[in-house]
């Protein structure tokens, strides 16, 4: 129970900071809208092409906007000495990781909840289904789990923000393939059972990443 209390305390801290500055969500959201517009111009997304390209465009947007938010979230901790404070506090290292992960996940999902209707309107594809929301949540969870771990590494490198996408994107291949394929099929009216293979892959990825991240996070933040 104390573990959960610690996790929620960190999430509450991140929420309070975000309510105050609004920098994470606003940066991710503005970037996501810009990326959506650029996809639309660059690929001339109308009609059938929009239908075919929308899942890919959606997940590329989520992935890139996600790296912005993830690296900012961890960079904020480093710059303000927040991470030092968390490490000094009598907390389990895994509680710190879970807290940061939940906070990041929350912000990413918030952005996605605004992004999905935007895609629905701009590309005339129906993305507001329960099953697509489930896939989005699972895909985002895996992405945020590996992303939070790697962002904690990236903020301590010389290249900082530049490093995160280079480290994260090759690891996110399973998430991106599974999420794009599942989103595409569900968008065309498939039932959730028909994308079972992708659903399972996402769940396995989430669990594997969470396990590995919990085991290794302590070594990353160690001084």
């Amino acid at each position: 129970m104390t573990f959960l209390r610690h996790v929620f305390a960190i999430v509450a801290k991140d929420l309070a900071a975000e309510l105050h500055t609004k920098e994470l969500v606003s940066a991710m959201l503005v970037f996501a809208v810009l990326a959506t517009l650029i996809f639309s111009f660059a690929l001339d997304l109308r009609g059938a092409l929009a239908q075919a390209a929308a899942p890919g465009a959606l997940w590329v947007t989520i992935a890139f906007a996600g790296t912005l938010g993830l690296s900012r979230s961890l960079a904020r901790e480093e710059l303000t000495g927040g991470m030092e404070g968390l490490l000094l506090a009598p907390l389990d290292r895994s509680a710190i990781f879970c807290g940061k992960l939940l906070g990041n996940l929350l912000f990413m999902i918030l952005v996605e909840l605004l992004l999905l209707p935007l895609f629905t309107v701009l590309f005339e594809v129906w993305l507001l289904r329960g099953s697509i929301l489930l896939i989005t949540a699972l895909g985002t969870a895996g992405y945020a789990a590996s992303g939070t771990l790697l962002a904690a590494i990236a903020v301590n490198t010389r290249a900082r923000e530049v490093m995160l996408p280079i480290l994260l994107l090759p690891l996110a291949v399973p998430v991106l393939i599974a999420a794009v394929q599942a989103t595409g099929a569900l968008m065309e009216g498939a039932a959730l059972a028909e994308v079972g293979v992708w659903l399972r892959l996402l769940v396995v990825y989430d669990l594997v990443m969470l396990a590995v991240a919990l085991l290794t996070f302590g070594y990353v933040v160690e001084e």
Partner: protein
């Protein structure tokens, strides 16, 4: 200080030289000409062997990463780092030979064939690992970060592999239909010889790279005095 000859290293190097020459001989003189693809199929022996070593190098880094996190012993970090650099060479060779082979057989340098695609992703993971190491200033921290990254990267490779395979089965790949071939026993023997030769070459290069890093450590230590 007197310069010592690394006798086991020398023996290893000579063994792999003999093995590579033998494998070359088998590939070009012993293995039969493949019926549909012709001479170009001989690249297969180098392609598969380098892919194996590329993957194996990654596995060694994964294990060395775990060992480093458990012990903080510099020798495990040296092993992990050396294996990545040697593995990077081999996986680059895999992607290049794959492209050279794909062109005459499938008609394009690049097809999203699952095995070729996973090699390309491994190549990117290797590059990310090397870049990560270069951009951390404190050696102990670089070693910890690299160990963690090596572990995380390695566990995603099988997941990527399944993702790519399922993705390609759902959208049938027109090109791979012509790529299948039946292996005769001579081909299998040649392949095994080639695998052994490349593995020995990996061991030789790994040993030299480890030695280089140890010498660099000693030099750095000497300068500090």
């Amino acid at each position: 200080m007197q310069h010592k000859t690394d006798l086991p290293g020398l023996i290893l190097a000579l063994t792999s030289l003999v093995a590579i020459l033998t494998a070359l001989g088998l590939v070009f003189l012993y293995a039969p000409r493949e019926a549909t693809m012709g001479e170009v199929q001989r690249i297969f022996y180098f392609h598969v062997a380098s892919a194996w070593v590329g993957f194996f190098g990654f596995f060694v880094t994964f294990v060395a990463g775990i060992a480093y996190l458990a012990t903080s012993a510099r020798r495990w970090d040296i092993l992990a780092l050396s294996s990545v650099e040697v593995g990077l060479t081999f996986i680059t060779m895999t992607v290049l030979t794959g492209m050279l082979w794909a062109r005459p057989v499938w008609g394009a340098y690049w097809t999203w064939e699952p095995r070729l695609t996973i090699s390309a992703i491994q190549l990117l993971l290797y590059i990310a690992y090397v870049m990560l190491r270069r951009s951390v200033d404190t050696p102990a921290r670089a070693a910890r970060f690299a160990s963690v990254y090596g572990i995380v990267a390695f566990v995603t490779v099988p997941l990527s592999w399944f993702a790519i395979r399922w993705w390609r089965t759902i959208h049938p790949d027109l090109f791979s239909a012509g790529g299948g071939m039946a292996l005769t026993s001579r081909m299998v023997q040649t392949l095994l010889a080639s695998l052994a030769a490349f593995t020995l070459l990996y061991a030789t290069l790994l040993r030299q790279r480890i030695r280089l890093e140890q010498l660099a450590d000693r030099l750095a230590w000497g300068r500090e005095l």
